[in-house]
Amino acid sequence: MTSLTSSSEKKSEKANIRYFFPKDPDKGGAKFSFIRRKKDVIEEVPVDERKLKKWRSGEASRGYARTKFHSQKIRAREKVFETVAEKAARAELLCAEEEGALEGEKTYQITQNDIRSTADEATQQKIFDLRLDQFGPYRLDYTRNGRHLVIGGAKGHVAAFDWQTKSLHCEINVMETVADVKWLHQETMFAVAQKKNVFIYDNQGIELHCLKHLDLALRLEFLPYHFLLVSASAKGYLSYLDVSMGKEVSGICTKQGRLDILTVNPQSAIVHLGHPNGTVSLWTPNMKEPAAKILCHASSLRDVAVDFSGNYMATTGMDRRLKIFDLRTYKELSRFQYNKRQCPGTLDFSQKGILAVSRDNVVELYQDMTNQAYRPERPYLYHRCDKLVQDVMFCPYEDVLGIGHGWGFSSIVVPGAGEANFDALEANPFQSKSQRKQTEVRMLLDKVQPEMITLGSGIGEVDLKTAEELQEERNKTKFLKPSKIDFTPRHKMKGGSKAGKIEQRKKGVQEQHLRSAVRDIVRTKQVEGRLNQRNKSRPGLTDGSSSLQRLKKKSA
């Protein structure tokens, strides 16, 4: 027995296991206690490489610069990016909500009635029709958090409501034609493009402003991060109005005729205008000319939509075609020819990339349209309305599509359309009043300046142009001669300003200057030479003539 106990003791020592017996609290011992775990016990499970890849943004540099100091700096920075990617990949676990999906054969045969009969009660509530056959056709807009809806009938009927609880904020008749409605940054205000001017109403329906300089507006868009209300007018004017200050930031005469097709790239805030000559023009508030022009159709355009990644654009034209473009290369990805008497009309992309296309009184929904390899034979879903469809818009963070048509408004469920996990710091469907107020203040503080809307190089990009100029200047200094010095000695009394003396003093200064200039140039060259010598032995630096070579985009 004794030998057994001793051996077991030894074993326990060897395994380095500490036994812990909680003391009786009545006898003065603590009830709970924590043993400090050994350091090597905690091991982080490595993150799956595929997951990491998703979160890595941009291309990793090779980590080399001309000097060791800068190489180390780049590497340190890259380490930070890697940590960010890893943390994001780990945090995926916290995004618990699952996306919607519809699986089965011939999904296009499934109607809203089928969905309603299978889905849960909350989803059933999301399928509804508003029969408003007097003031149509209707245009609509959801707020950024997808909670509130405003609809505007062409004959003057405007209504704003929380579409989930179906509680009405306001219902007014503006007694004028309504061309478009748009929420501003929050559900407290919306803009209505009426017959002559644009009006801003609050959610009680009280008229706050009449914007007379936005006249004959046909389409409105709002840029929430810039607080800019964009309006396109029947006379060809594109106006940017800063609603935080009430000042017109930019007014552009596009000289393109009636502007009734307007959409905004959500990632770059660039405005896309569609024109009757088949072109789409891209605008920023900083240029009086379009930043780019794309010839999309051989006929006039019907609608333009840009997806949420900001990389793809869909267009429809009178030539019965639906085309998808890649905005990074401005190239056509794919095209779809519709049958005779079927002309595709309005378009909208959902957050997850489902494309809604209306034609007459039908709305077709396509999945994976931006995927080049995939060409859908049939739509994903199909919905037939009572009247001609005027406007379609997906509700953010919901599997819902809103349709404005001649007889009112319909809300249908499109599984897989919305983002499942919202970010409460960007848009929160469940925000309270105090949260809404705080968000408003924060948004105003972080308002991005309109000058920063650019096509191409933005704030995070390498300023190649300036860098090249700098390099040029640096190259020049190598061959620089010492500058000439124009020195006039001061007048001195007591014979100090005799011609000879003046010349002597002038020469002294000039020679001194020359000597020190030459010395400096020689030393600079020596340092440069030493650096070059060292860089020769480094890989990845010898190929390009300029150190900027590594920043350039590689041609495919």
Binding site: V413, A424, L480
Partner: protein
């Protein structure tokens, strides 16, 4: 929630959130804020960060109020300032009329004063215990003064050493009971002896500034009137190294964290940092003053230092950079002769010609006092943002801009234009052709093409003439 239809054979899953999961349970809870780092949900994130950085930079300038108070009471020009290494609140100052005052910085009041010398006081230094301090004056005496916990200076000196020659500088050893004085010669004193136990002389001219190294405690750096800086070791019999500058060094200070580095404040408007292992070349050159630099003191972190200028301003430099990060002036402040950086790294004291000692914040926009954790983290975020975007032109411009009343104080901001130099400073060039050429170029901006580019780090510019090494 997934459901299956039997009639048409499809499975359906629709996004359907339970509001209870997203709302807080009670009013005492904090609001729930789920997050999703997916990039497409955060458009313009960089643009918004930039805007935040811009706002933070602007706020920094709005709250930049560095001047705290003036400690007035002296009846003559300030001649010396000294801090206690072991006490935070107490600071000593001495004036030309021989008066020494002890200030309590927490109450901003003079605690006690004593007329220490006949004529002006040349230098002060505190014992590291904080119980007494030493002073030298025009009357050629070295005096020891007792100093109580509350800051009361004894009415009579504890000890007086009478000398023939005037000592211009004095400093006490960090650990041992040794102090060193400089004047006609460099003398090392120990214990109670009334004679120096060591006396060094190297060259003919007198010396005016002496500093013990705080880490390598036996090392001494001395600035002499013959434009030289000499290094001595109290354990050796003679000097170690000598460095001759082009112009006179007014003051110098050892880096408190790097034992081998010291920075010299020069008459040629610049400061030079030297590594004592290689005195042949300055490791950095600090430009921005447009008058002689009179005094320098390091922050206890060793990362920054503050300088006093003859051009009536106080400048703060980062050790790793070549130009100042901040400049402090007031309308009334005259030539600044002495400067101190407090031991808690928070305050700066300047002593100037017009009899005032001024108390400044070391970080102009820093909030003093206790901060709540959220406030603190907000400040940290702002600091990081500023750092990230510091090279963007607009942010750089705002961060660098200073409202300097007089054109003569503009230096960095007016680099592209003409640099004005007052006649007095012009005279300070001492008539040397080299300096005249430099100043001429400087004034006309002609040197921009090569000097500022190639030798802005140009440590060869005005640094070293001769280095003598004695082994």
């Amino acid at each position: 929630m997934a459901t299956v239809s039997k009639k048409k054979k499809f499975s359906l899953k629709v996004l359907s959130r339970n509001p209870e999961e997203y709302r807080r349970e009670t009013k005492l809870d904090i609001h729930k804020a789920p997050q999703n780092p997916d990039a497409y949900l955060h458009p313009f994130s960089l643009g918004r960060e930039y805007q935040r950085a811009l706002n933070a930079t602007k706020l920094e300038r709005v709250f930049a109020k560095p001047f705290l108070c003036g400690l007035d009471g002296h009846k003559d020009t300030i001649e010396a300032l000294a801090k206690f290494p072991s006490r935070l609140a107490h600071v000593l100052s001495a004036a030309s009329d021989g008066e020494v005052r002890l200030w309590d910085l927490s109450t901003k009041k003079c605690v006690s004063s004593v007329v220490a010398h006949d004529g002006l006081v040349h230098s002060l230094c505190a014992h590291r215990s904080g119980q007494f301090f030493l002073s030298t004056g025009q009357d050629a005496n070295i005096k020891f003064w007792s100093c109580s916990e509350e800051g009361k200076i004894g009415a009579e000196p504890v000890r007086t050493i009478l000398n023939k020659n005037v000592y211009q500088g004095i400093d006490h050893h960090e650990k041992e009971e040794i102090f060193v004085t400089c004047g006609q010669s460099l003398d090392v004193w120990a214990g109670d002896r009334s004679q120096p136990y060591q006396s060094y002389k190297w060259g003919l001219d007198s010396m005016h500034h002496v500093k013990f190294n705080r880490i390598e405690t036996h090392l001494i750096a001395v600035a002499a009137d013959d434009r030289s800086i000499m290094l001595y070791d109290t354990r050796g019999g003679s000097g170690v190294q000598k460095l001759v500058m082009k112009m006179k060094t007014n003051s110098l200070c050892w880096n408190p964290m790097q034992a081998y580095m010291f920075t010299a404040a020069c008459d040629d408007f610049n400061l030079y940092s030297y590594d004592i292992r290689n005195l042949r070349i300055a490791s950095n050159k600090y430009e921005d003053h447009i008058g002689a630099v009179m005094d320098i003191d390091y922050a206890p972190t060793g990362k920054e230092f503050v300088t006093a200028g003859y051009d009536r301003c106080v400048r703060i430099f980062n050790v790793a950079e070549g130009h100042s990060r901040d400049v402090y002036t007031t309308k009334r402040m005259q030539r600044v002769n002495h400067i101190l950086w407090s031991m808690d790294n928070k305050y700066i004291l300047s002593g100037s010609d017009e009899m005032n000692v001024r108390l400044w914040k070391a970080k102009a926009s820093e909030k003093l006092g206790v901060m709540k954790p959220r406030e603190k983290s907000a400040f940290n975020t702002m600091e990081t943002l500023k750092k990230t975007f510091k090279d963007h032109p607009e942010i750089k411009r705002i961060a660098r801009h200073r409202h300097l009343r007089e054109t003569r104080l503009h230096h960095r901001n007016s680099r592209s234009g003409h640099r004005r130099m007052p006649r007095r400073e012009k005279r300070a060039t001492g008539g040397s052709t080299a300096n005249q050429a430099r100043y001429h170029l400087w004034r006309t901006g002609q040197n921009r093409s090569w000097t500022s580019k190639n030798s802005s780090r140009g440590l060869w510019g005005a640094g070293v003439g001769v280095v003598c090494v004695v082994c």
